[in-house]
């Protein structure tokens, strides 16, 4: 069965490149360019995993994560936080907020796939 990953990320370049990596590994990819749209797509498409950026206009990744985890419709979807910025204790913070994992950009494509495979389908 095809597994879907939702990328919530404001940088088109990151969406396109990440989508290329995921599709080459056999995943179906949905994307949203901000937190509000991401939450709506998470509800309508019920992805198997969410890749979530932190620095976004409008509601940022932390707020998006909070809302995804608060809503019973989306709270079970594993979320991997990925960020290009240094966040003091960002890994601890994201784990405490319910994220499945945290990793930094730029990433190695193979590692992204390993991480997605590790968490996908693991309802939290």
């Amino acid at each position: 069965m095809e597994r879907t990953v939702l990328i919530i990320e404001d940088e088109k370049l990151i969406i396109v490149s990440t989508q290329m990596v995921l599709e080459a590994a056999g995943f179906r990819v949905e994307s949203a360019v901000n937190g509000e749209e991401g939450i709506q797509k998470a509800k309508s498409t019920r992805p198997d995993l969410v890749l979530l950026d932190i620095m976004m206009p409008g509601i940022d990744g932390w707020e998006t994560l909070t809302r995804l985890k608060r809503d019973p419709e989306t709270s079970g979807i594993p979320v991997i936080v990925f960020t290009a910025r240094e966040h003091a204790r960002g890994h601890q913070k994201s784990t405490e907020m319910g994220a499945a994992d945290y990793f930094r950009k730029p990433f190695e494509p193979d590692e992204l796939i390993e991480l997605v495979e590790k968490h996908i389908g693991q309802s939290v």
Binding site: E11, M20, A84, E86, R89, T95, F103, R104
Partner: protein
Amino acid sequence: MNAAVIADSECSASARSLVDDRPRTDLGAIQDGVLMVDAHGVVALVNAAAEELLEISTIATLGRTLGELAAGELLAAVRAELALAAPRRSGAHVVEVHRSVDQALLFVRVRVRPARDASGRIAGSFVSLRDVTAEHKVAERKNRYLSIVAHELRTPLTGIKTFSTMMAKGALGALSTPQASVVGSICEQVLRLEHQIDKLVHLGTLDSDEFAPDLAVFELCELIAQSMRAFEKAATDRGIELRADLCATATPVRADRAQIRRALQALVENSVKFSRDGGHVVVSSTIRDDRSVEITVADDGAGIDPRYHARIFEKFFQVEDPLTRHHGGSGLGLFFVKSIVEAHGSVVRVDSRLGGGSKFSFALRLADDAPSEHTPSGAGGLPG
């Protein structure tokens, strides 16, 4: 306010025994706040700067314990610092407090030291207070700027790295030999840029809270294998055997994954760089009796003269003359390795001699043994 005023009229009797035999200092002229309490916690001495910072008056303070004084957040922080420092009577922290009068946010460095009487016995504590708000704000702005710069550089780099890696893998179609060579070079240069950005950010945030390890449990051997991949091409191009000799059992550690990765990559990068063509680089992991895992990066390359062993971890130090050296680099790699490993409560060991290769090692405590506090020491203090 001069020294005589401080020493003769603003000292309590208990303080006099502590200060009478010491060289008199003009405490009123010192910009830092200075406060002294005796062994019973009674305020024995206070200067003008301390009065202002603590929002107290000398008249109402001398001869009373700190606990008896009603004052602002800083006084409460001083009491906490004294309690924390009690066993050894020394310590220093920067505390964040609001000034009562206008609720302004201040950052104050509170330092506690033992006060000794004429016979050298500890008879109380000296507390010095320094308003570091301005420095803190500058550091905060610098860190924010660095973080934004890193974000702005890493974002396009993520696209370049992903596209070039996928091209190198043939995901966009087969490449001719020259095309594959060019794409391979792009991948290498992207990695180099990535490391430089990491170093820039690291250097800028070294003394700040941003550098405190971001602890999470992860599988160390998995990270070692991933960290080595980046150097496979550089090693292969020079006929160097880059091999992992990792323990078969699980090695979950509680550490900062990104920092440990940087440390591992700096060590592997150095070993490959200083290996002769056709040499060997081995990264190994061993579980020790004390439930820690030791990571070793060893090569049979040029080696390091033992007289430089202590200095190679210094910031910007390079054994080779920068003008005549054969190898590139900023002289920051081992400095970062040491900073990172020490922030995890461990030490880096070096075993090397000229012409005899080099071996660098450090240990991390296994996660099932690690305390759960989110502090550097929570990562496990290790003998190395």
